[in-house]
Assembly symmetry: C4
Homo-oligomer: 215 residues x 4
């Protein structure tokens, strides 16, 4: 398709509403994660054991932080992609729902990982499940980007080179994610460490601002 | 009523705030659905049974996906209608509350369907209840659209033909929904399959972008 | 204070952010209410008793509808007030927090009313408690409006007459609310009926659009 | 870095989206707090004991109010800072996630404080834990402000003097917070009183509007 001449005001508003709705979902999803952390209760844990019990809850907190990063980085990713996606059509709305679906699912793998982190068999299942959700989410981001590029919904100021580089980068991320799941299957604790490392890498490398327009 | 000459800036802002509030409700409702999925706990399910237990939870996931689609498609529908609704009045605010009421109710039929999917008697009740909520929601959308058309709140660029076609389409959807409830009463599993098929149809047919203005 | 000459772009943005934050709180609060309705579980309620059990849950649904209306009407009220409040200052931000505080509290009186509706002693406590929350909320709206009027934060196009009429109306609403609480203390069921009637009255009377500017 | 000449429309939109996402998180976090208050149930508490039981829940309400103020004041603080932060970069997005992380955590210390307020040993742990979360949150705000000032992301109309005064003020707040935690360690009830006093001070002192631009 040839790129359309210019984004109209209505197209602009449509895109803004998709962004606003997605922002809402990200905001709720990232905040609901805390419900996966159970607070000790006086009838089970006397006050003089409270500190010890809180420290024993480290798996819940580790799992919470990991999921908070996953959703938070997902939001930054969405934010970056929609800086250059200038129009939406119904297919993009549907593909965006895939991203939102796997974003809202996070409370489940989060609690599962926290619950089974100290059980060898259970940890393998929980770590692979967690990784598969991460991978599905990456597929969602990939589909949205790939479709937006194919359907000429991107900012026209973006050079084909930048678009191709970004497509490659997203495909590479998918492969890295699948690799991490394979590692988690072989060694669950190592797999979780790789998930965390990837999150840190995405957060602090020049990952973002990668879609800068020429100025 | 004769259509008003032009949308003022204040009318525009009023409409935007209704949209923003509705978007917020949709975002929370779609994200809360995940709370209907219970995570296995180590004290009930040892690690070596975890995978099996996760597969046995398929009714919860089916129900979750169905409700995610229902709320997500509802949002797309709302999005499409409010692309052409250019003004709001107090009656429209109240009618919009009906849509939001039946959107926020979804966690209840979702959990009910997941809980009783493997009990013949219970499934009939749960499937019909689910369908009635879907139908009430469709009535909500219909009322908002019908009132907006009657009260001249629509974009003036919309031809009467497009408005009539949309009214007919929404009425047809209501009938399809009522038909699906009847099927669910006779054969609950078939009814649920019809709900899913309708959702897929709405999502991927040329359903959306139906209110395109002449250009 | 003399009214300031004109709303600047920064003041406009400040007001919009307060509105956006409040909309978010209303959206979450209205959606969380559904969590107060407990879904029957297969282990407690066999499938052939499900329909009966759902009908027995009517107090939960009554309570849910009442609270949905209270928060929804509150949103319409907030919407109407902030159509004419054109500037915010730190005191208004703090007063607005009072409205939000009593809006987010609703899940508690909602569940309480549902739980104790069939216990004579408990119903009196629950109904009066419910009414006191409603009254505190009305005080919140009153304070915001009264302060905005005093501190010259209103749209200058609003005539003093309209402002006074609105202040009187809000004061009257406070008195009506206090009256309803008194009725609920004497006869709890009657009190709840009055809460519902007042909600219907606010929703469908010419309650809204009351702050229309002269055109 | 020398300040950039002028905020472009794209930079403006980027900043607005960070604000919208943060507003969403604040709105959900402040509303979820109510879930920490447990409603008495008829099977545990007969109707004629309900009033007494509600009064016995004062620790939950105290804790709820404290956290509501903490999140609400945090929002006002965020609001004030982003009135003058005119551009965002990827580091600021990541630092902002720290603020959001410690804002979403609040349900946990809130429930903990309510649960252990009447147990001497437990209260010490809960009060110090609460204060540490508050302190981490203050560090988040400080980092965002400090980085925004260093990276020239602030409104250019802001004089260096105002920027320095604000940096000092935020550093002082950090020290006050650490002092309060120390007090909570020595005397938990006194510490909680200090938290409340600080909240009141921040809410009603000329705390806000401190970043006013010269006019």
């Amino acid at each position: 398709l040839p790129p359309k001449a210019k984004t109209t005001q209505d197209e602009e508003r449509d895109t803004q509403r998709l962004i606003a709705f997605s922002d809402g979902v990200y905001a709720v999803a990232i905040t609901l994660l805390i419900l996966s952390i159970q607070t000790p209760q006086l009838k089970d844990v006397p006050g003089n054991k409270l500190l010890e019990t809180l420290f024993q809850q480290w798996p819940s907190w580790l799992s919470y932080i990991l999921s908070f990063l996953a959703v938070g980085i997902g939001w930054i990713n969405h934010h970056e992609m929609f800086r250059v996606i200038k129009r939406v059509d119904v297919t993009l709305l549907a593909l965006n729902l895939i991203i939102l679906l796997f974003t809202t699912i996070f409370p489940v793998p989060t609690r599962l990982l926290a619950e089974y982190i100290q059980d060898a068999d259970g940890l393998r299942v929980a770590a692979v499940f967690y990784g598969l959700i991460l991978t599905c989410l990456s597929f969602g981001y990939f589909f949205v980007w790939y479709y937006a590029a194919k359907a000429s919904l991107l900012d026209q100021q973006l050079t084909p080179k930048v678009v191709h580089r970004e497509t490659r980068r997203q495909a590479l991320e998918l492969l890295l994610g699948l690799g991490a799941v394979a590692i988690a299957f072989i060694s669950p604790p190592l797999g979780i460490a790789v998930y965390l490392l990837l999150a840190m890498y995405y957060l602090f490398s020049g990952y973002s601002r990668r879609l800068a327009k020429p100025q």
